[in-house]
């Protein structure tokens, strides 16, 4: 019996890892923007908007990601018009100057949407905590300097809030990488899916899951390292150490 995986199977796992990273990156960018918007909505003047944002966070935090993914994948497909679904399922490519960009599969789009909506609820909470962490005196100080509320928010409150919420934000990005493994349930060929496929084909359970596990740990360690660097860059007190 062969102890190690054939190069072909290692390539499958490597490609799966690429899909995992790409999905996590796309979802992280969108979820950060959406989470920031949600946190803003929770401080909006309009009461209805505040309630909507609150309800969104409660609903998306308290339901499993798997059910949300199944909902986006199976449910939304029936709600969208047929023509749009056919367009989404057919391959497309965009010609840019030097390279052509493939439009991702519907599985990828559904997975991205599900991960984004789920993570946005958590990121909104982190931003919210960051905003609450800025002392009341800072608001008063900004007002006393003659800044308008908008300026005070932009130049005084926001930078401090971002600094407070950065460490938990990176924690959410790690969760995002780990949660992206659930998209295998809707048939997206990411790392867990590839590991399962390699296992089925080669019966080398230990090697297949071992490689996948190491790759996940590497991704999480990478985010941890980035978070460390960013924290030290932004915080002069830490940078001096």
């Amino acid at each position: 019996m062969q102890v190690w995986l054939a190069p072909k199977y290692l390539m499958w796992l490597w490609q799966g890892f690429g899909v995992t990273l790409g999905l996590a990156l796309c979802a992280a960018i969108a979820a950060t923007l959406a989470g920031f918007g949600l946190a803003m909505c929770r401080h909006a003047r309009l009461r209805a908007l505040r309630h909507v944002a609150r309800g969104y966070v409660v609903a998306f935090r308290n339901t499993p990601l798997l059910v949300q993914l199944l909902f986006w994948y199976f449910g939304v497909a029936t709600l969208l018009p047929d023509a749009l679904m056919q367009w989404l399922n057919a391959p497309h490519r965009v010609q840019l100057a030097w390279f052509s960009l493939h439009w991702p599969s519907f599985e990828f789009v559904a997975g991205w949407l599900g991960l984004t909506c789920y993570t946005a609820a958590f990121i909104a909470q982190e931003f919210e905590a960051g905003l609450r962490g800025v002392r009341e005196g800072q608001h008063h100080a900004a007002a006393a300097l003659g800044l308008t509320p908008r300026q005070a928010f932009r130049y005084v409150v926001l930078p401090q809030a971002v600094r407070i919420s950065l460490p938990p934000l990176f924690g959410q990005y790690m969760n995002l990488v780990k949660n992206s493994s659930l998209t295998m349930a809707i048939g997206l060929a990411e790392l867990s899916y590839a590991a399962r496929q390699v296992e089925t084909e080669t019966f080398q359970t230990f090697a297949a899951f071992g490689v996948a596990t190491v790759l996940y740990i590497a991704a999480v360690a990478l985010i941890e390292a980035v978070s460390h660097v960013v924290a030290h860059r932004r915080d002069p007190a830490l940078a001096r150490r």
């Binding site: 339901t63 199944l70 029936t78 590991a195 296992e199």
Partner: protein
């Protein structure tokens, strides 16, 4: 939508084929969640105490093990327990046991850090007070530190249990007939109402998670409420740390 179709499938979604066959659906989700919640609490308290009592050298391997469980996706660990345990021990591991095992290990790893942080938050003064009363280290921990630490740890325990309820949906991947799994079964059988089915299932999870949140918070802070106000006031500066 045809309500009769939905009503006919409702018992299957809630209890599976229970009176005639094995328990399934939402009831099985509850059983899974309660079992792994208790196991993860035990593991977490044991791990947290071990972290608090360990010397420098024993702490390193302990932190590595805990770090490993925190870094890999729940899905990956379910694969490990489901596919590898039978290979290693030559026993047939049922999917249910594999999922409970994986969920308790991950929950325990997260809770170990909360318990450790809770014990640290109570403060060194309490350690010294207990030891100077002639209690052993174990007695001090049991009778002086843990009762106070429980109050500080309540939110992280409740959070972890809520995410545990959500994670039971991953049992779907290894074919355990819990709520998400029967939902996809019903969806595949009916074919036409995916939106309604997954919205309903999401709602059931939402109710379970919010109810758990309320009940667990109430139950864990019950001792804090029943102690006389004077005692509570004396404990306040410590608990507020």
């Amino acid at each position: 939508m045809e309500w009769s179709l939905f009503v006919n499938n409702l018992p299957y979604l809630l209890v599976g084929a229970f009176p005639e066959g094995p328990l399934g659906g939402a009831a099985l989700t509850l059983v899974l969640a309660v079992t792994s919640a208790l196991a993860s609490a035990l593991l977490g308290v044991a791990g947290g105490i071990a972290l608090a009592m360990a010397g420098r050298i024993t702490r390193v391997p302990l932190l590595l093990v805990i770090g490993f469980f925190r870094a890999i996706p729940v899905l990956m660990l379910i694969f490990w327990t489901f596919f590898l345990l039978p290979v290693v021990f030559h026993v047939n591991v049922p999917g249910l046991a594999a999922v409970v095992c994986a969920l308790s290990l991950i929950g325990g790893a997260y809770l170990a850090h909360s318990v450790h942080a809770g014990i640290l938050a109570v403060g060194a003064g309490q350690w010294q007070a207990g030891l100077s009363l002639g209690l052993t280290r174990m007695q001090t921990l049991r009778h002086v530190l843990l009762p106070q630490a429980i109050r500080i740890m309540t939110p992280s325990f409740v959070n972890q249990w809520v995410s545990l309820v959500k994670d039971t949906s991953l049992a779907y991947i290894v074919g355990v007939g819990e709520l998400s799994f029967v939902a996809t079964q019903v969806n595949n059988r009916l074919m036409v109402y995916p939106v309604q089915i997954f919205l309903f299932v999401g709602f059931v999870y939402l109710v379970m998670c919010t109810a758990l949140d309320r009940i667990a918070t109430y139950w864990l802070t019950r001792t804090a409420r029943s102690t006389p106000a004077r005692v509570r006031a004396a404990a306040q500066p410590v608990a507020g740390e």
